[in-house]
Amino acid sequence: MEPINPYYPIPVKIKKIIPETPNITTFILDGMPISFEAGQFAELTIPSIGEAPFTPSSSPYDDDLEFTIMKVGRVTDALFNLKEGDLVGVRGPFGKPYPLHDFKGKEVFIVGGGVGFAPLRSLFLALLHDIKAYKKIYIRYGARTPKDIVYKHLIPGWQKIKGVDLLLTVDVGDDSWQGRVGVVTVILDEIPVDVKTSPTVVCGPPLMMKFTTQKLVEVGFKHENIYLSMEKNMSCGLGKCNHCRVGKYYVCKDGPVLTWQDVKDIEEPFL
């Protein structure tokens, strides 16, 4: 058998493009070119432009692979110019998945900010797949404004699921917004889970990660139970190019999710 080339992206067509917010879009690919577990990530290639790392936003059990992506740089600019039917490439999966076996029988407390809800959606859908195995799933999600909320069309349905408690907040409301206003840490004032045993999972922009983690530590979550998505520059995804190294970890290989226990001694771990 020919050895697998870990640098080769599997070609796959874009099946559907769903705009989520003015600068965040979900790209549904035609099929599942990789077999991943929630928490692992992939490198998405835009032909002749390059590639960038993204964690899927779809369930590992879906037939099609999805990514919800914010337009922020060279690769994503090019991606946003593609149309349904265009070809992209996928390499992966890379990194370690969430230890879902350790979450079983417990309340899972998920905190997301902005487009950070995308990888958490994949985790959430994986939990839903076996929802009876978990005591309860809590989601706390904050976006800048009501327009910046991702999965607007899906959230009402998720809120109705028994065993799911999903609260939203926006930094700044508008005339149409009837919900909570304030940064996501504000809705962390009331944490209904047993902080001594529950795992908590955080993903969002660097400042949100910093202050949310502070808050979670403050209220008593165990450091090894605080799971943090680390955003680092990654080129190879294989633990070889050295770009993502932080502290004593290659984030692409040993992460991309590390615990607060792993990173608390690192100077500015979220930068």
Partner: protein
């Protein structure tokens, strides 16, 4: 392990035989430095195994500065041909040791490195005349090949002593057994004496050892002490590109006809954009942070991850530095 003696007048025969099997490179002196040159029967064969490591590091042979790693959508990457590196010094073998760990030591294995590692045979040579820039002894290395290479050669009065260090090295001697005779005890004794002399010279060049807890000192040091040295740094990156143990790379995609070619390029952690993410956040936007990162990577991180320092004491960084920063001074002062 058993050693074999090659008469100096048979070295050329040995080299010619090897060169029929693949390209052969050997160190030759030019302007006071040695460079690896390709053996060509039409040109005079003038090797120099006495001088320290070649001016250029040997990582090009295993991990080229620019190499195609994939084509998209149809993947086709050309295989590499066999080659021999003759006269490689132990400091450069440490580089291969680091690459072995990163590229084939854990899954997924890098198929391009693996192929080169299998097809490039390394014959190391003793390093009898260390120079002021050398400090392999401070990193626990000796001035002769101790492994990693397939075969090690040592020049003694009766000829050249070859010691196989791998099965591949044993096979190499066995294949050309008509050229060798079994070495005598006096040859081994002379080699030991020459090695001791070289080690003593290294000790006299580097009179102070690095502290035993170097890794912990780098981790816990007042970063200002390392960062102060960067005031001199002009970001020429010579220390990183010349380094035999630096393995950073970047993947770049280029359009070539109907295909896209994915190329692996050497990278260096001093570049300002090295760690910057798409959204603009940069954990090391300042030069002093990048300067400290180099030390953290080589002497703390890699030691924790693989239990060796990602530094070989070859001295290329301090000789290449535009600002004459001597890495030893910084490490001694921790």
């Amino acid at each position: 392990m058993k050693s074999y003696l090659l008469s100096p007048d048979k070295l050329l025969d040995f080299v010619k035989k090897l060169a029929r099997d693949g390209s052969l490179y050997y160190p030759a002196l030019e302007d006071g430095k040695t460079h690896l040159v390709k053996f060509d029967e039409k040109n005079p064969f003038t090797p120099n195994f006495q001088k320290i490591r070649t001016a250029e590091n040997i990582k090009h042979f295993f991990f080229p500065s620019r190499g195609t790693v994939a084509r998209f959508p149809k993947d086709e990457v050309k295989p590499v041909s066999k080659s021999y590196l003759l006269g490689v010094k132990n400091c450069d073998l440490r580089g291969i040791d680091v690459y072995d760990r990163v590229f084939i030591g854990w899954e997924p294995v890098d198929p391009f490195y693996k192929e080169r590692r299998e097809k490039v045979l390394v014959i190391s040579a003793d390093c009898p005349e260390p120079e002021d820039s050398c400090f392999c002894n401070l990193l626990g290395l000796n001035p002769y090949g101790e492994g990693i290479s397939d075969l090690n050669m040592s020049e003694v009065s009766n000829g050249i002593l070859f010691e196989p260090l791998t099965k591949r090295g044993e096979e190499l001697v066995a294949t050309h057994k008509e050229l060798f005779v079994e070495a005598k005890e006096e040859d081994a004794k002379e080699r030991s004496a020459l090695r001791d002399k070289a080690s003593k010279k290294l000790s006299s060049i580097n009179t102070k050892q690095f502290k035993k807890d170097l890794s912990a000192r780098v981790e816990s040091t007042d970063k200002k002490r390392i960062r102060d040295a960067r005031d001199e740094c002009v970001e020429c990156h010579a220390c990183l590109h010349g380094c035999p143990t630096c393995y950073c790379f970047l993947l770049g995609d280029y359009k070539k006809g109907d295909n896209v070619e994915r190329v692996r390029l050497w990278d260096a952690c001093y570049y300002a954009a090295y760690a910057r993410v798409g959204g603009g956040a940069n954990p090391r936007s300042r030069l002093d942070e990048r300067f400290w990162n180099r030390f953290q990577c080589k002497f703390d991180f890699f030691n924790k991850y693989e239990n060796i320092y990602a530094c070989s004491g070859c001295g290329r960084c301090l000789l290449g530095c535009s600002a004459k920063i001597d890495i030893r001074e910084i490490l001694w002062n921790l």
